[in-house]
């Protein structure tokens, strides 16, 4: 299905919701994998507009949230060095490490820069040959082609003062980890649209078959999400478990082959720790041996940094969909966007921050949801 001028179209939203309601004959639990989708769901009150049988479980697909505390502390250590220009995406500035964040390191005199693209960090390295420029290369498959290109170009240019602190994670192993958990309640997935823009859908049929779950590639806009839910529920009601592409305008089955080739040149699969979750086999990428010279963890010898998560923070359970943010005792009291205990309260794509911003402790229904409800149910 292609949406043309129908985004934000209440009549279409109503049709999709009516169809979901008419199709669902029993309770179903779906997980939206991507933090961008979580943000959109909470912002627009989609979870509140759905029939009661449909539960949305928020997944671990926020790369800012799952970057391990160890790696954050490594970043803070490197960024504090006087010879370093530390470059990061803006999302990472306030992610708490053990005792501070990049924002505070900058306040203490560290040279921390926000870049829009990893190639901006590369340009800084070219212009500052007497400084070490380090780029914080986090992200899922969506971001990996950009970060891989930075490493590729650094080698092509022979830059010796550029390196990457890599903490890349991959979606399919996370889905596998979720489905093999003894407390898993997920019956279907909304797969992350932009991850599939890069990687295509080749890795998903095996997961759908093995775990008997529908996987619907879904976009980020409210109607995209409703359409993804509609298709997942339709499959579940029919007893099907297939990969479906509900985001065909941006996702091809074979993804972006050029981007995948660059990822393969620069990165190799490795086990990764996920913040709040733990180690997931084969769930990440690291630089290959050929690019090891550009690995900031080795260059600055910070691999030995190991830190414990604060016990009070239950973000790990939130990231696995085991509890809703409001079920955490710290939510909205000792943990707020201003004083976050964990990354899920910092990132705009973190479930805790989304709940805090748009729901306020199970408070009023979000404005967007109220408006949509009124439009959808006009008072006679």
């Amino acid at each position: 299905m292609k949406y043309i001028d129908e985004f934000n179209d209440p009549a279409l939203a109503r049709r999709l919701l009516d169809e979901i309601s008419a199709t669902a004959t029993r309770p179903w639990a779906l997980m939206e994998v991507c933090g961008g989708q979580t943000h959109s769901i909470i912002r627009h009150g989609i979870d509140q507009l759905l029939p009661e049988q449909i539960e949305l479980i928020h997944g671990p697909g926020c790369p800012v949230c799952v970057t391990p505390l160890d790696v954050i502390d490594q970043a803070l250590e490197i960024a504090s060095r006087p010879d370093v220009i530390f470059c990061s995406f803006g999302d990472m500035l306030r992610v708490p490490g053990s005792d501070r964040d990049l924002f505070r390191v900058k306040g203490e005199g560290g040279d921390v820069r926000v870049v829009y693209s990893p190639l901006d960090a590369l340009e800084l390295a070219r212009k500052n040959p007497d400084r070490q420029v380090v780029f914080f290369a986090i992200g899922f498959e969506t971001t990996a082609p950009a970060n891989a290109m930075a490493a590729h170009q650094a080698r092509r240019l022979g830059l010796t003062n550029f390196s990457l602190l890599v903490s890349h994670v991959r979606v399919p192993p996370a889905i596998e980890a979720i489905m093999t958990s003894p407390v898993c309640r997920v019956q279907g997935f909304l797969a992350a649209g932009h991850v599939c823009s890069v990687m295509g859908t080749a890795e998903y049929p095996a997961l759908a078959e093995r775990f008997g779950v529908p996987l619907v590639v879904t976009g980020f806009e409210p109607l995209d999400i409703l359409e993804g839910i509609r298709r997942a529920v339709r499959q579940l009601e029919r007893g099907e478990h297939r990969v479906e592409n509900a985001y065909a305008r941006a996702v091809r089955e074979d993804g972006n082959p050029a981007a995948m080739r660059m990822i393969e040149e620069v990165f190799e699969v490795t086990d990764r720790n996920w913040r709040g979750i733990g180690r997931i086999p084969s769930s990440g990428w690291r630089l290959t041996e050929a690019f090891r010279a550009y690995d900031a963890e080795h260059r600055f010898d910070v691999g030995g940094i190991r830190t414990e998560e604060p016990a009070e923070c239950r973000s790990g359970e939130v990231l696995q969909g085991l509890i809703k943010p409001t079920e955490c005792g710290a939510f909205g009291t000792t943990c707020t966007p201003r004083t976050p205990l964990g990354a899920t309260m910092v990132s705009s794509e973190g479930a805790c921050a989304a709940y805090y911003l748009y729901r306020r402790m199970n408070g009023p229904t979000p404005q967007a949801a109220r408006a949509t409800r009124e439009e959808m149910n006009p008072v006679a």
């Binding site: 001028d5 220009i85 960090a121 941006a250």
Partner: protein, 117 residues
């Protein structure tokens, strides 16, 4: 973090390595790497993530998405000043009160920008 914004290719620098273009995001123009969509032409639409075009997009879908993103303030989040946003969230003194960087670094800061991604 995984937001990808649709934009229109308004210029392509064939001599750049990697291949680079100028993309218009509903009035905001930024350079983006086109290496992963090498056949793209001026006038076509692409979705851009952290300065890299990842896929082509049809014009109608792109314009509809851009309208929605603008209404929701997502373009400001994407292209706004991350330091200001962090200051607001932290409720602390601006990071600009930090010791001033050297002149050379300050110039670089201006050139490299401090926009959010």
């Amino acid at each position: 973090m995984c937001l990808a914004v649709p934009g229109k290719v308004v210029a392509i620098d064939d001599s750049a390595d990697p291949l680079t273009g100028l993309i218009d995001f509903g009035g905001v123009q930024k350079r983006a790497c086109l290496e992963y969509v090498p056949d793209v032409r001026v006038g076509e639409y692409v979705i851009v993530h952290v300065g890299f075009a990842l896929q082509r997009l049809d014009e109608e879908s792109a314009l509809a998405s851009l309208r929605l993103f603008e209404e929701l303030g997502l373009l400001e989040e994407e292209f706004g000043d991350a330091w200001q946003q962090a200051e607001r969230e932290a409720g602390t003194a601006p990071a600009s009160t930090a010791p001033a960087p050297t002149a050379a670094v300050a110039a670089d800061q201006t050139e490299s920008g401090s926009e959010a991604r």
